[in-house]
């Protein structure tokens, strides 16, 4: 896979950084002219991954979220990494409406949104703890 451009961002795991994070990734994609709808899909998917790191990953003190993105032709690959508690059962966590925080009015739709707004979604435990969320989207494919 030929990588034409890439970016890397490290932010404090705070909800006030979510808008910043999703805007940066969307702006990074602008050079390959995605549609307005495709950009809003990217923003929503990034927001889901970053929100999860803010809300679920760091229970005690807040940590760092790393966001990497690369462009390969008109496909964007995005990685959202944390060093938090990780997920015991990833298959279950990815099911629609599954949440470990129903009392906080969480919908359990985060992974489902990432999966359906992007072309691919991969969720993996990181060596040494934390979660790695990888997703990609090709801008030549027509959404609905």
């Amino acid at each position: 896979m030929q990588i034409d451009n890439h970016m890397s961002l490290k932010i404090a795991a705070l909800s006030k950084n979510e808008a910043f994070a999703r805007s940066v990734v969307a702006a990074f994609c602008a050079s390959v002219n995605p549609t307005v709808d495709q950009l809003s899909d990217i923003k929503t998917a990034v927001s889901e991954a970053v929100t999860n790191a803010v809300v679920h990953a760091y229970e005690v003190d807040s940590g760092i979220i790393e966001i990497n993105a690369s462009l390969s032709g008109r496909t964007v690959h995005i990685e959202v990494l944390d060093e938090g508690v990780g997920i015991e059962d990833i298959v279950r966590a990815r099911e629609p409406f599954f949440t470990t925080k129903p009392g906080d009015e969480r919908s359990g739709m985060g992974f489902t949104v990432m999966e359906s707004f992007m072309d691919t979604l991969e969720v993996k435990a990181r060596d040494g703890g934390g979660l790695c969320v990888r997703m990609s989207k090709n801008f030549d494919m027509n959404g609905e």
Binding site: E18, T44, S47, T51, E105, M109, V113, S116
Partner: protein, 103 residues
């Protein structure tokens, strides 16, 4: 994010504008609940024509208010969602609980 309220003919219209995510969820919940608790209405309409962004945190906020209103016997409607917001509302099955209206 900004929330404005208006009551017309016992219908509470709630205009939610800007971006609704985790950083705004608490504020949204508090102002919506305060209004629901004090107002006397037969129906609530969330006007989302000016809501440019919402993620699944917003779905939780909406469903939470829906449950609260349902317990009071008050129907909730979603009005004029933008395309991006409509997509996530659809995916999350929100329209199975409350109707969408366009005006």
């Amino acid at each position: 994010m900004k929330i404005v309220f208006k009551t017309v003919n016992s219908i509470l219209y709630v205009g939610i504008s800007g971006e609704l995510d985790e950083s705004m969820a608490r504020q949204a919940r508090e102002s919506l609940d305060a209004m629901i608790d004090e107002a006397d209405m037969k129906k609530v309409v969330f006007d989302m024509s000016e809501l440019s962004f919402m993620d699944s945190t917003g779905i939780g906020v909406i469903l939470g208010r829906f449950k609260k209103l349902k317990a009071l016997g008050i129907p909730l409607l979603i009005a004029n969602p933008t395309k991006a917001v409509d997509k996530i509302l659809n995916l999350s099955g929100v329209y199975q609980h409350m109707p969408k209206v366009m005006f």
